[in-house]
């Protein structure tokens, strides 16, 4: 066991990990943040996506031991990053029904958040590419894409109004 410290959503967690434990496993099972899902544990579904130093990664493919010193953001931190209010993406997913069972939703929102931070006015194609590695078995893609595009518009309008 190795003692490490993980910084997740601006909180620090001391955890003991084995070298081969994935970041997804540690965040879910040891830290107890279960908003990050693990549908496949092999990098093929996208449900475990979180932001590692600002970049979306499949946390099932990352070792927890390597994440020490990184800035980790999970779905649980999205509201906090938005002054405790729902992020426009979350609002849009709610209003536009960008989900059915909701299992893929945290991963989708994280990927979309990264996209909109770097590209505030994406085309539909760019949105689809940003979530290209994410599966939604419920087949909600139409409304997921619509949610992201609508959130982008809301965010641009808010920006313009400021």
């Amino acid at each position: 066991m190795n003692a490490i410290n993980l910084k997740i959503n601006n909180e620090h967690y001391d955890v003991s990990v084995k070298p081969h434990w994935s970041l997804a496993y540690v965040i879910r099972e040891k830290v107890g943040l279960t908003g990050t899902k693990t549908g496949c544990e092999m990098g093929t579904c996208g449900s475990c996506t979180l932001l590692l130093d600002g970049k979306p990664v499949f946390s099932c493919l990352r070792m927890a031991i390597d994440a020490q010193g990184c800035d980790i953001r999970t779905i649980e931190g999205v509201e906090e990053d938005n002054n405790g209010e729902l992020h426009p993406l979350q609002e849009a997913f709610i209003q536009d029904h960008g989900m059915q069972c909701g299992f893929c939703t945290p991963g989708m929102i994280i990927a979309a958040k990264h996209l909109l931070e770097h590209n505030p006015d994406p085309t539909e194609r760019e949105v689809r590419e940003a979530i290209g590695g994410h599966l939604c078995r419920c087949g909600t893609y139409i409304r997921i894409v619509r949610s992201i595009l609508n959130a982008a518009e809301t965010m641009r309008n808010a920006q313009a109004g400021q």
Binding site: G39, C45, M99, Q100, F103, L135, R137
Partner: protein, 768 residues
């Protein structure tokens, strides 16, 4: 008849949307650890068929951290029932043992270990020594049915006795026909493949057991546990969380029984979470069909007779033996015969998956119908319009009839309540521009160099529940502030069952959706509710919800009558306010009524509405759908691309349009998977599944195909709540038909799904 509604018909957000977008919603695998909880792992058979001659678990038991090991030798109930005892699931999906000395498919359970953590449990599995004696295995349905074929499992014949539905006189029917079209079809092995992995926690307290799991079948799991462990229902409590997609997968399953059995032995709470590999290879898959179809038509394109022999690969423990739904009735002919045979093979057990029998049989019917239309030279759209099922027609193959015969020796008739098929077909054809694009059978609608395009169509129906699924017990409790709690055992699996039931309740009680809190997923709190399957939620389930809400309304109006010194019959509720019809300014808000003492009692009223409702089965409300596809095939690379897809659905009144659009889109994506890339590949030699993951079992992603055009034909169903019918399963049924027919028209060769480049290549070669 239609009715004015204020909640029903709106795309209101899901009740649990906030939890979903914030990651707060707990699925079974997210439940917090319990005190002293251990983790279980399952040792599984590497052989498709073998006897466990010897098993030594001593080294595993001695491993520090291991709390229990169970094998087929374990006494499970204390009444000489061992793990090897068979149990059956009431849905006819499963009939098999839990850990048997004879393993019958690759992945069958051999032992279970519980330990302080998953790693120790895995370690312990490696220390179990098993000696197997291989037995002959069969993977092919027709082989399994042959006389003298080796037995697939320790009991019964390999094929169940056929279920037969017959009406008219089939021989006569074919004599009346000018042409007889015969056809044989099959489909691939599809897996439900929800993103979420099956999981549960089991815990014994004395002689009572609690189980936490995600499921669509709350009460059936309770009943299965009760049955298998020989307990009183009062000793079994099941808590269910929403599923991360189910599509038929999250029902009663052995893994839950394994957790319960080992929790008793370990005397600890036990958590069992399946790996992705286990989800794909040990829970369930869609039954694979092999169907011989024969249709008789007259020269002018009238269908006069039809017969189908439907084999269904049940795998090792699947237990299907009849059509389940009345699929053959898509076309009402005077003479018909439908034979249905469930066959056991040494493969992963098969069972219900979204669409079930409607999908498989409709595929066979519709391929053959397309051939029939070709035979008489009639445009398929015209052929469909001439022959399809209509309101008031009889459902000859309804499973209710089977049950009525079985239980009461009676032969009732079941009537179709409504059908918008004609409108669905017409609107779909228009949206596809069928008139211009359809150029004849086996004839592309356009050719661009080596790229050819073709269009195809298909129709289907699906039940909105079946009466014998049972009664729904629902309560509506009104709070002092006018909000209310609705308890229902409906399964939450992404179909928005909680939201749409609450919408029905809100509509009846004149309140807003947000006023309703849905309490679900607890067998001790909720009334017995049907399994959420067969698309019964919005038809049969909602009828009970509506009745419970009406019961609450009755009480509210009685109290309001005292408050307003009026006659209850003169009152109604709208916008959270009770008022006198005709003089609307005389009224009281629900909140005021519920929090103000009434003179007679010196107390504020307490309102609890309840209803327990079964459904009479003489009428069947079925959803209808017509799908149209346009595909493009590159004749050099044999790649197929979907260009356009139109889905038109009659699910009666659409209670929540956004939810229903998502359902139709989901069915389209899943059935596009079935049509093209989704196919569990079984090794010919070993029967093992070679692609148990999302890398090799390809699900459709966000870049893989165009969005479908979705339309609803809202035919008001007099039998349904606010005119609604079900939707969730039917959405998959007609997709593969439309795709296959489009491919045929593009290249002139019929190919059964999965339509892969190698099959297209072969087809192109065979043609040239």
């Amino acid at each position: 008849m239609t009715s004015e509604t204020s909640v029903v018909g709106k795309s209101l957000p899901l009740l649990d949307a906030y939890e979903k977008v914030t990651g707060k919603l707990k699925y079974a695998g997210d439940l917090p650890a319990m005190h002293r909880m251990h983790h279980a792992k399952v040792l599984r058979s590497p052989y498709a068929h073998a006897k466990v001659v010897h098993i030594d678990t001593s080294a595993a038991e001695a491993l520090p951290g291991v709390s229990a090991v169970i094998t087929h030798k374990d006494d499970i109930t204390g009444k000489k029932k061992t793990c090897g005892s068979p149990w059956h699931d009431f849905s006819f999906n499963f009939m098999g043992p839990m850990i048997s000395p004879e393993v019958c498919y690759v992945g069958d359970e051999v032992a279970v270990v519980s330990a302080v953590d998953e790693e120790t449990a895995k370690e312990a599995l490696k220390l179990i020594e098993v000696e197997y004696e291989e037995l002959p295995a069969i993977f092919d349905m027709e082989e399994a049915m042959k006389e003298g074929a080796p037995q697939v499992r320790p009991w019964g014949p390999n094929s169940l006795p056929p279920s037969l539905f017959e009406w008219g006189n089939i021989e006569e029917g074919f004599e009346q026909a000018d042409y007889i079209i015969e056809n044989r079809i099959t489909l691939g092995n599809q897996q439900h493949a929800p993103l979420d992995r099956n999981a549960c926690i089991a815990h014994w307290e004395g002689d009572s057991v609690s189980l936490w799991t995600s499921t669509q079948a709350l009460f059936w799991i309770r009943d299965a546990v009760t049955d298998f462990f020989e307990l009183s229902p009062s000793k079994v409590r099941v808590y269910s969380t929403p599923t991360g997609g189910s599509f038929g997968l999250w029902w009663g399953n052995n893994f839950m029984l394994l957790a319960i059995a080992i929790a008793r032995k370990a005397r600890r709470p036990i958590r069992l979470v399946l790996t992705r590999d286990e989800v794909q290879t040990t829970v369930k898959r869609r039954e694979r069909p092999l169907i011989d179809a024969k249709i008789g038509i007259t020269k002018d394109g009238k269908m006069v007779s039809q017969s189908y022999r439907h084999l269904m690969d049940n795998g090792a423990y699947g237990n299907k033996f009849d059509p389940y739904q009345s699929v053959a009735d898509i076309y009402t002919t005077e003479h018909a015969r439908v034979e249905f045979i469930g066959v056991a093979t040494n493969l992963l057990p098969a069972g219900c998956m979204r669409g079930v029998g409607d999908l498989t049989l409709a595929y066979a019917i519709e391929q053959t119908v397309d051939m029939a239309a070709e035979r008489v030279g009639m445009d398929p759209v015209e052929f469909h319009l001439k022959n399809h099922w209509k309101t008031g027609d009889i459902c000859h193959t309804s499973q209710e009839v089977v049950f009525a015969k079985l239980l009461f020796n009676k032969n009732p008739t079941v009537e179709l309540t409504s059908s918008g098929l004609a409108e669905c077909i017409t609107r779909g054809a228009e949206a596809m521009d069928w008139k211009n694009k359809w150029k004849g059978w086996g004839t592309p609608s356009s050719v661009d160099g080596h790229k050819v395009r073709g269009v195809g169509m298909g129709i289907s129906t699906h039940i909105s529940g079946l009466a014998f699924f049972g009664f729904n017990g629902i309560t509506v409790k009104v709070n002092p502030d006018g909000t209310m709690a609705l308890t229902t055992g409906i399964g939450r699996m992404g179909q928005a069952g909680d939201t749409t039931q609450a919408m029905v309740c809100a509509e009846v009680l004149g309140v807003e959706l947000e006023d309703i809190n849905v309490i679900d997923g607890d067998t001790e709190v909720c009334g017995h509710t049907m399994v959420t399957f067969g698309s019964n939620g919005m038809h049969m389930g909602a009828r009970a919800t509506k009745a419970a809400a009406e019961h609450a309304k009755e009480q509210i109006l009685e109290y309001a009558a005292k408050h307003l010194e009026a006659n209850p019959a003169d009152l109604d509720i709208k916008n959270r306010r009770i008022f006198v019809k005709g003089s609307e300014d005389r009224g009281v808000t629900l909140k005021e009524l519920m929090s103000t003492p009434i003179f007679e009692y010196l107390a504020a009223p307490e309102v609890i509405g309840s209803a327990s409702k079964g459904v009479e089965f003489d009428k069947a409300g079925k959803m209808m759908m017509a799908d149209f596809a346009e595909v493009e095939i590159d004749t050099r690379t044999a790649q197929m691309k979907l260009i356009k897809f139109v889905a038109v659905h009659d699910s009666g009144t659409i209670v929540n349009p956004a939810v229903c659009e998502n359902q139709v889109a989901g069915g389209y994506y899943q059935s596009m998977g079935l049509s093209t890339t989704e196919h569990l590949v079984f090794d010919d030699e070993t029967g093992a599944i070679l692609n148990p993951n999302f890398m090799d079992y390809k699900l459709m992603g966000p870049l893989d195909m165009p969005d479908p055009e979705i339309m609803f034909e809202e035919v008001y169903d007099e039998d349904g709540p606010f005119g609604a019918k079900g939707i969730g399963e039917g959405v998959t049924c007609a997709v593969p038909i439309a795709i296959s027919n489009a491919v045929y028209n593009a290249i002139g060769v019929r190919i059964d799904p999965p339509i892969t480049p190698d099959k297209i290549l072969q087809a192109l070669k065979s043609k040239s």
